[in-house]
């Protein structure tokens, strides 16, 4: 606390802003077909849960959900479920559930039935307090997703992003925002009259690092989400930017401008000692850690245009290896969670910027988006989804896609939003 940079801290009323709107534009061609029966218990709560769960599952692009009106409430006494009826409707799975609400608690119990195998495959309970309906729904969605797909769900993860609004005199206000993975439940972490860029999560989801220009130059700050305590990471007078947390939470990679040029350093958080990783006349920035923490990738201009390089941290004096070769602008790369590939920003021959994927095993890149100015891709912790920034009619907003082919958009309800950062798993 003693090193805390002195800033005036107010506790803000939470949830005062509008929320992002989820708009699902496209889904997969061979989805799981499921029916979700209205949950037993309070009808309003059941409807709320249903809407959130439906959106969570649709956003993955891997589900087709039977129209609610066609599903009547079902009371099932164990194996009385008539599988053949659901099979006739073309369903793969049926989900039933119940809600038990008291003044202080909500319990959600849900069951998943495999229509083809004719058996119950999951029986789960999630419980919380009444204002946690969104979280209860996200936990339920993740349970459903995990049981059916075999992959860990990301409905209960969170997003960070930057919001910029302009007042009537065109003066900007910048906010660092936190929201559920569906853009709902927005909360303000920081409000400033100076730009905020490059938000990055600590791996445990308790802290964020970001660049703030509040002192007149770029500086990296770490902020504790629960307490709002924040501090500048280094007392140096130089510009500092592009923070990225190591997977074990012990290090931050950073870009320092000590001698005027952008170079990458790794800082040990415990004692703030710095190790210089690049030493190049050209720009080196946008570092990001491999999932195991033994490599970093970064953007360097050393070849004459921005390209992606990799450094093996296990080696003594590692030499940066160039790993992008297609085109004249490849930047802001991050690894997929199993390190099977990288996601990055790629400038196409027509001069437009897109999000691209390159699998390690392949010798070509896959361009995955088609707007004009796509940027800041962030990969979900299960590796199945990417969220990024787009510009539509001069307004920045967030968009996403699943690797299975679904697309969605999260336009801001107010102003512009950009630079999304997906948290780790939080449950």
């Amino acid at each position: 606390m003693k090193n805390l940079l002195l800033t005036i801290i107010f506790l803000m009323p939470l949830g005062c802003l509008g929320e992002l709107f989820l708009e699902i534009t496209k889904g997969s061609e061979d989805p799981y077909r499921i029916a979700i029966s209205p949950f037993d218990g309070d009808v309003r709560t059941s409807n709320q849960l249903h809407n959130i769960i439906r959106n969570d599952l649709m956003r993955t692009g891997e589900f087709s959900i039977l129209d609610e009106e066609l599903v009547l409430p079902i009371k099932i006494k164990d194996d009385e479920l008539i599988y053949s009826d659901w099979k006739l409707l073309g369903m793969d799975y049926l989900i039933t559930g119940s809600i038990i609400k008291t003044k202080n608690s909500i319990d959600v119990n849900y069951e998943i039935y495999d229509i083809h195998k004719k058996k119950k495959v999951r029986s789960s309970k999630v419980f919380g307090i009444p204002n946690q309906i969104r979280q209860l729904a996200h936990y339920t969605s993740d349970g459903i997703y995990e049981s059916i797909s075999g992959i860990k769900g990301i409905a209960a993860t969170k997003l960070l992003y930057v919001n910029e609004t302009k007042n009537s005199k065109s003066i900007s206000a910048y906010k660092l925002m936190l929201a559920d993975s569906d853009g709902a439940n927005e909360k303000v972490l920081l409000t400033s009259s100076e730009p905020i860029i490059s938000p990055s999560w600590s791996p445990d989801g308790k802290k964020v690092a970001y660049v703030s220009f509040e002192t007149g130059i770029a500086k990296v700050f770490i902020q504790d989400i629960a307490s709002g305590k924040r501090e500048s990471v280094l007392s140096k007078s130089t510009q500092i930017s592009s923070p990225s947390w190591s997977p074990d939470g012990k290090y931050l990679s950073l870009t320092l401008y000590q001698d005027g040029n952008a170079e990458i350093y790794i800082m040990r958080l415990q004692d703030r000692t710095l190790t210089r990783m690049t030493n190049q006349f050209a720009i080196d920035t946008e570092s990001s850690w491999s999932p195991k923490g033994n490599k970093i990738i970064f953007t360097s201009g050393r070849s004459g245009s921005p390209q992606i390089y990799e450094l093996d941290l296990r080696k003594l004096n590692p030499k940066a290896k160039r790993i992008s070769f297609e085109g004249t602008y490849n930047a802001k790369a991050s690894y997929l969670p199993k390190e099977e590939g990288i996601i990055f920003v790629h400038r196409s021959d027509d001069g437009l910027f897109h999000i691209a994927l390159k699998y390690k095993k392949e010798n070509f890149i896959r361009v995955l988006t088609e707007a004009k100015m796509d940027e800041s891709p962030s990969v979900a912790p299960n590796g199945n989804m990417v969220i990024y920034g787009i510009k539509e009619e001069n307004l920045s907003m967030l968009a996403g896609f699943s690797l299975s082919g679904a697309r969605f958009k999260l336009p801001a309800s107010e102003g512009e939003v950009r630079e999304p950062a997906w948290s780790n798993f939080l449950r």
């Binding site: 058996k119 119950k120 419980f127 720009i283 201009g301």
Partner: protein
């Protein structure tokens, strides 16, 4: 288990989740029980700084080509005037604030803006101005002069503001 007490304990803490994974005896059915946790969040609002600064002595802007940080002949004309002013007012320090257009990634543009700022500084130093009278910094693409996504707006935004 006293569920309500457990829940209260969990409500304000993050990531304190009890997950029970049980497998029923006769089938491969998954049985789980989880308490939901959501983090508490404290918002921070930065007070606006006072913007009282020294009177502007040098006030000039030089522009750059796309992706470039080398000085054009037009920029050099502008910088000759700045050099003159610096020589005649030996006490002033100036800030060289680099900017980029919106194309490309934000952090790379921050670094590019810095390179532009350094280009201007290097010219002034080569013409006898002391380094300690120059402050170089970058705002990247965060402070566009001209809004809009077209060549004209972009050309106005790739700049170093000398003030």
């Amino acid at each position: 288990m006293d569920e309500k007490n457990t829940m209260k304990k969990f409500t304000n803490s993050f990531l304190t989740i009890s997950t029970l994974l049980l497998f029923s005896a006769c089938s491969s059915m998954q049985v789980t029980e989880e308490s939901v946790a959501d983090q508490s969040v404290a918002g921070v609002s930065l007070a606006t700084k006072s913007t009282a600064t020294q009177a502007v002595l040098a006030n000039a802007v030089v522009y750059f080509e796309y992706d470039q940080f080398n000085l054009t002949s037009k920029s050099i004309q502008v910088l000759k005037g700045v050099t003159e002013l610096m020589r005649n007012n030996s006490k002033i320090t100036i800030s060289l604030e680099g900017h980029a257009d919106e194309r490309g990634t934000r952090e790379y543009n921050l670094a590019l803006g810095q390179r532009r700022s350094e280009s201007v500084a290097n010219y002034l130093i080569a013409n006898g101005i002391k380094r300690n009278r120059l402050i170089t910094k970058s705002y990247g693409e965060e402070r566009p002069l001209s809004l809009g996504s077209n060549n004209l707006a972009w050309s106005k935004n790739r700049r170093v503001e000398i003030k």
